[in-house]
């Protein structure tokens, strides 16, 4: 998404050379807005989230029970303990994380190797418990040296994955329209979860009786 903003910035810059006067002011303002969006996206990826420690070969799995057609965005950032400086520093090259996502039928829907920092996105096609597993994959065995890896993890589900700044810019919404849009998305998500709950209860009864 930041890439799209950068591309638009380049296009705007090219066009602003040809136009003059007050129209140029508008173009500059738009350029500034786009710069802001790009900058804030970069900032967003560094905002600290919940973190935990894992060992070298340890596999950490999280379960997310979600309805179908729900998007999940996971951001993670790793830090390795530096014995000399006695603090956690951003993980060095050669240290990657292997992310595996399984759907409720134990089918793998995402299986990828990311770097020391990464972002994974997937959309559920069946409602139920999805399992997100992370484990470190280091090419240099001496990196860990018996220490722990600190993993910052941030998982956004459903309505929280919407980027309202982007939606506002794309659909040209006023502030009030954006707020109402957010409320609509929230209600949609609540309704989806409620339907999922109703279906899962029915399924349990069917299993028991049939």
């Amino acid at each position: 998404m930041g890439y799209v903003a950068l591309e638009s910035l380049r296009t705007v810059r090219r066009r602003s050379v040809l136009i003059t006067g007050s129209v140029k002011m508008v173009a500059i303002r738009m350029q500034f807005t786009l710069y802001l969006v790009v900058l804030l996206n970069i900032y967003n990826s560094f905002v600290s989230a919940l973190y935990f420690h894992i060992g070298e070969t340890e596999k950490k799995c999280f379960i997310e029970e979600i309805p179908d057609e729900t998007m999940i965005i996971g951001n993670y950032r790793t830090q390795l303990y530096d014995k000399q400086k006695e603090e956690y520093l951003p993980a060095t090259q050669g240290l990657g994380m292997f992310v595996e996502v399984k759907d409720p039928d134990e089918k793998v829907i995402l299986s990828r190797q990311y770097g020391s920092e990464g972002r994974f996105i997937f959309t559920s096609h069946t409602p139920g418990e999805h399992q997100i597993c992370l484990h470190s994959n280091s090419s240099k065995f001496a990196l860990f040296a018996g220490g722990m890896l600190r993993v910052h993890l941030d998982i956004q589900v459903g309505e929280h994955t919407n980027n309202y700044a982007e939606i506002a810019a794309k659909d040209k919404l006023t502030e009030l329209q954006l707020r109402v849009r957010q409320l609509m998305e929230q209600v949609d998500q609540i309704q989806k979860e409620q339907n999922y709950q109703r279906v899962s209860v029915l399924q349990v009864w069917q299993l028991r009786s049939g």
């Binding site: 303002r29 905002v47 919940l50 935990f52 997310e64 506002a168 040209k172 006023t174 609540i190 979860e193």
Partner: protein, 192 residues
Amino acid sequence: MRHPCLLILAVYIAFINATELTFELPDNEKQCFYEDLEQGVKFDIDFQVIAGGNYDVDCFVTDPVNNMLYQERKKQYDSFSHTTTMKGVYKVCFSNEFSTFSHKTVYLDFRTGEDARLLPDMNGATALTQMESACLSIHEILKVVSDSQTWYRLREAQDRLRAIILFVVCIGQVLMLKSFFNDKKASVATST
């Protein structure tokens, strides 16, 4: 849209972090989650044991200077709210060390951050219009609805299981009692 920059900035500044996770806690193990928070930030922790053993887990929360903010043993579910008094790393730990053979599956909802507020105008704080205030209130209420829905969905799943176990045990006890009387009848019949 006269101030698109302000709008975009406002959307980002009103940043509320919420992490919902369900994880497995093997027997004899402890799992801790940490979060770096500023001073004066309100955070809420909701947890529930959704599977395993007696559906209980030890939980404790400590502040940056290791003061115990919350400590409970063998709890099935609970909610804890606190406003931070100092900046630093706050820790939430779940322990299954009292159990020797049952894995527990724990659901955790860690919500931090202040209420969504608009960035004040350059001239000073401008009040929200009635429509904007209404939208903000509805937004907050919907957040509560969503969280409550998840909470009660998990409670319901457990209570349903308990109801079934209760029913089965009940029938079992009735049948067992019946069998005692059947034996008595047989012995009475043979003695006469």
